[in-house]
Symmetry: C2
Subunit: 336 residues, 2 copies
């Protein structure tokens, strides 16, 4: 009977991505001049400013749909990294990219990949400043974006209090609709583009940051429910989300399916990939911030409030129910 | 006959890593405030200082010997990134790491990996400030280090002129000896450690940078011959290297094999992985810089000179011969 020896061997498949990051954080020496593990970006003290640094990896089997073009892979890699800078209110300084590519990769693939990365960087006022290429069996792309933000404009994930308003930029479910459009072969480019060529909300992040009233902020890469669960843990609070207030990507849903039979809230609440910003702010400040955002042409929608009770509840016509955490988490199976 | 259509399809296996980077660089928009593609780090203008940023990727099949422990993988990932900061004369601010790991990876592997990364960072006066974990089929590790250097202390790869002295820190061939020790099952930890746990020369880089006379600098990750060919191309110069002046890692060679029958210069000139610094400086300044380095306990050895003629020549008892470029280049087969 040697089975006992193996009982305590935990695998990443058991831990899941967030617990894995927790384990790593426990091992690491805490720097005196930095904060950031568990946040979208690391924030390094540079005097008046923080240097923001983030990294994101994309891997062929788990993150790259077969329909994604090399241009879109490059765009996506840059977009997801810049989205982390956006969520902290930062202005990007540049990106470095590592391309792990099979040796059978064509030169055209390589230049399209670089073009897509370049296009997304330039569209967002920044550039690719360096990188690395390596031979790998499957496409593995890694990016690191860096930027700056004034200390008093930095939007952390931590800092919200009961009573704050919960708000999101834009509309939710666009990426989810894009995912189903690809699955159902719905030939609407605008749908798949929302999934494959997301837009980092850098300008929205800057406008929000300049108001200096945001008490917590993160991007919605993992979906609304998963993001709320992360904020809950970091801030030791709960949330009440009003289902009818969640801004749905109605145009996308109609393009996907006239008189859609799927539940649009499933996509809006759980799918992720929209790269909108999720923020909290004092209730008394919401209207003013909403108006400034509107003046800049940006939507900001209040969807609920921060509560002392630790539950995350969804309020609909039938009453309150616990909002399930159905977001995507790596290493664990996708339960959507 | 459709064969003609395919004649011009170049694959990365044909291009090699450096040509691939060249193709990428051609596609990218040049930022106004940055320099760096083709250098060890990107250097971003931050007023009085440059922000240095670099990225490096390690992949199981091509970069991770089976004997490497998870701790050593973490150490190595941090060391190779910090070595790029060292080569520019920089002081590190921190690193972000992305771990692409199979879902069967054990928790112990993960914490050992993080511990190794942390140990190397802390040993070099810095910390891991953030990261990402993703599920991949094979271990793929990506790091990005960032740091700062005063503008007048920045050591570029570009700037050397004919007449300059070529010099290297430390001794060469340690990593090569470590490689053969592993291959031949020579149980000397000090040998394999040189290969698997290299030391970034951050302090050496700082002392050199402070002298403000270094005309070009890079690390020797790719080996001396490959590095000289890179400097040749960037600076449009040639080199004459005096074979007998190349500082050999004699202790390592003796540990590997008493009365060694291998050619130690093959390892010292071509193997790479030593992470020593290769610099050029005006001939009249060498002695002073050498002495300052010695005061700090660091070796700096003149091994040749920069020439107007574009050849890279090796001078030995028999005369001059072209120094072959045998360094390791990804995508192309290793020709060592």
């Amino acid at each position: 009977m040697t089975v006992g020896l193996w009982v305590n061997v935990k695998l990443l498949a058991d831990l899941g991505e967030r617990m894995a990051i927790q384990r790593i954080a426990e091992v690491l020496t805490k720097g005196t001049a930095s904060s950031g593990i568990g946040d979208d970006c690391a924030a390094i003290d540079m005097g008046k400013e923080y240097l923001l640094v983030t990294t994101d990896m994309m891997y062929q089997q788990t993150h790259i749909p077969v329909q994604m073009t090399p241009f879109q892979m490059g765009w996506f890699l840059v977009a997801i990294n810049l989205s982390d800078i956006a969520a902290k209110g930062g202005t990007p300084l540049g990106l470095v990219l590592s391309f792990g590519l099979p040796k059978e990769t064509s030169e055209v693939f390589l230049t399209q990949l670089a073009s897509g990365a370049d296009a997304c960087a330039v569209a967002n006022g920044t550039t690719i400043v360096g990188g690395d290429t390596k031979e790998t069996a499957e496409i593995t792309l890694c990016g690191s974006a860096f930027g700056t933000v004034k200390k008093d404009e930095f939007m952390s994930r931590v800092g919200t209090c009961p009573g704050d308003v919960v708000a999101v930029t834009g509309t939710l479910g666009k990426a989810g609709a894009g995912y189903y459009a690809l699955k159902r072969h719905v030939a609407e480019n605008v749908l798949s583009k929302a999934l494959l060529e997301p837009t980092p909300n850098l300008r929205q992040g800057r406008v929000l940051a300049q108001q200096k009233v945001i008490t917590s902020s993160m991007d919605l890469s993992d979906g609304l429910s998963a993001s709320l669960y992360q904020l809950q843990e970091l801030n030791n609070v709960g949330f009440e989300i009003k289902k009818s207030a969640v801004p749905l990507a109605l145009q996308s849903f109609e393009l996907l399916e006239k008189n859609y039979r799927f539940d649009p809230y499933e996509l809006a609440l759980h799918f992720g990939g929209d790269y909108e910003l999720l923020v909290t702010l004092p209730a008394g400040r919401f209207d003013a911030v909403h108006n400034v955002m509107a003046q800049h042409g940006f939507e900001l929608t209040a969807i609920g409030k921060v509560t002392r009770k630790k539950d995350i509840l969804l309020l609909d016509g039938k009453g309150k129910q616990v909002l399930e955490n159905k977001g995507y988490e790596h290493f664990k199976k996708r339960n959507f």
